[in-house]
Symmetry: C2
Subunit: 230 residues, 2 copies
Amino acid sequence: MADTYDPSAFPPFAVTADLVILTVQPPTVRALLVRRASGPFAGSWALPGGFVGPDQSLADAAHETLARKTGVSVDATHLEQLASFGRPDRDPRMRIVSVAWLALLAEPAEPVAGDDTDEAQWVDVAALDGDLAFDHAEILATGIERARNRIEYTTLATRFCGDEFTMAELRAVYETLWSTELDPANFHRKVLAIDGFVEPTGENTSGGRGRPARLYRRGDAVDLDPPVRR
Amino acid sequence: MADTYDPSAFPPFAVTADLVILTVQPPTVRALLVRRASGPFAGSWALPGGFVGPDQSLADAAHETLARKTGVSVDATHLEQLASFGRPDRDPRMRIVSVAWLALLAEPAEPVAGDDTDEAQWVDVAALDGDLAFDHAEILATGIERARNRIEYTTLATRFCGDEFTMAELRAVYETLWSTELDPANFHRKVLAIDGFVEPTGENTSGGRGRPARLYRRGDAVDLDPPVRR
DNA sequence: GCAATAACTAGTCATAAAGACAATAAAGCA
DNA sequence: TGCTTTATTGTCTTTATGACTAGTTATTGC
């Protein structure tokens, strides 16, 4: 960083935390979006977000927005930094740099309308034709692509499942995000072969059609070795 | 993003682009660092960087800093966004959000001292004990970790080699970054089996000890399939 | 109740990839 | 010439993957 500096010599940048909040509801991938009530792009869908406060860390700003929109506990969520977007003209009002975050949720908690009265809603990302406010379509695409890659090498796919889930539910997460079909038998064998990916609860499902499935919970592992190839 | 806004209602944020510029000189990994001449952390090593200009994109700011410090052509370099760092107290002077970038270079171009008269130098990252200015040790560690992961799934390892390189040189990049030894025969077979990773030039090395090695150049592939496992 | 059905789980076999290691090739050098 | 060094090829074993078959265990509809 340069040594010379003078706060007033630099134009005012604002910094926001914008969130790509994803959930998988087979056969759809859904993002939590807000409909802008006013200002530029009024009426368009946008990513939920908020300005980073003067004494607030970037992560805190992201957590705050997530809690405000979903009310979901931090434990039940995976939240990671995605990338920053800062084209000079991305917001017509002023120079705003957006630090984007990716959140992965199991259940679509009822979205909470913001104090800015924007309508919040889970939207099937396949139904969007890229008509989001600002450069949010690009940010959303980056987030989805990140999620698609993450589940290959990490255990994050389990974040889209509840605390207890069946092998078929976990497989549906992969199939939905990757738009592929995976062989149930081979998937089953492979997942169980990865140490710490899932742990059996000892319980079974009941009430469904067909043979009840065993229930599993998340294991301790973070990275998948070997990875689950696409 | 919130609809309500008022530029003056927000404290002045400054945004910088800070670069983790890496090269591999087996058996060392080197980063291009500058020694701070004045200001906070005077005398300490720091990452090269600069403020993002009022009408400058984040990427342009990164490219500019890279060119200023290395003089290396953009073509010969891989430059990707790493992450953003914005703890409120990371700079004692004012609120600064750093968008960090990762650059991978083949040859250690002679570093160029900045106009701020900071001394620039390639430093063996193993010799640093984390005593960098600001939170730059954390940023550097993030960059090295990113590079270590990237060469597993992408062809970026070739970015650390010159335009023409031998299989042993490419292998040394992996061995240096991963601190492992790889079997020469198996590595050779594996690299050639990946379509578009490297292409033979038809030339051989000469003058060294032992059998001359074939020379290769980068192929067209970006991702490695299958990956080179650690 | 009793098939029929759906869904999960286990097993088999052929193929492909990876790891260990031996063997050969092509230079320089004493 | 023969030894050393490094590069490349080849072989064998083990392991992982993919396609497929068969068995298990529940619910659903006569």
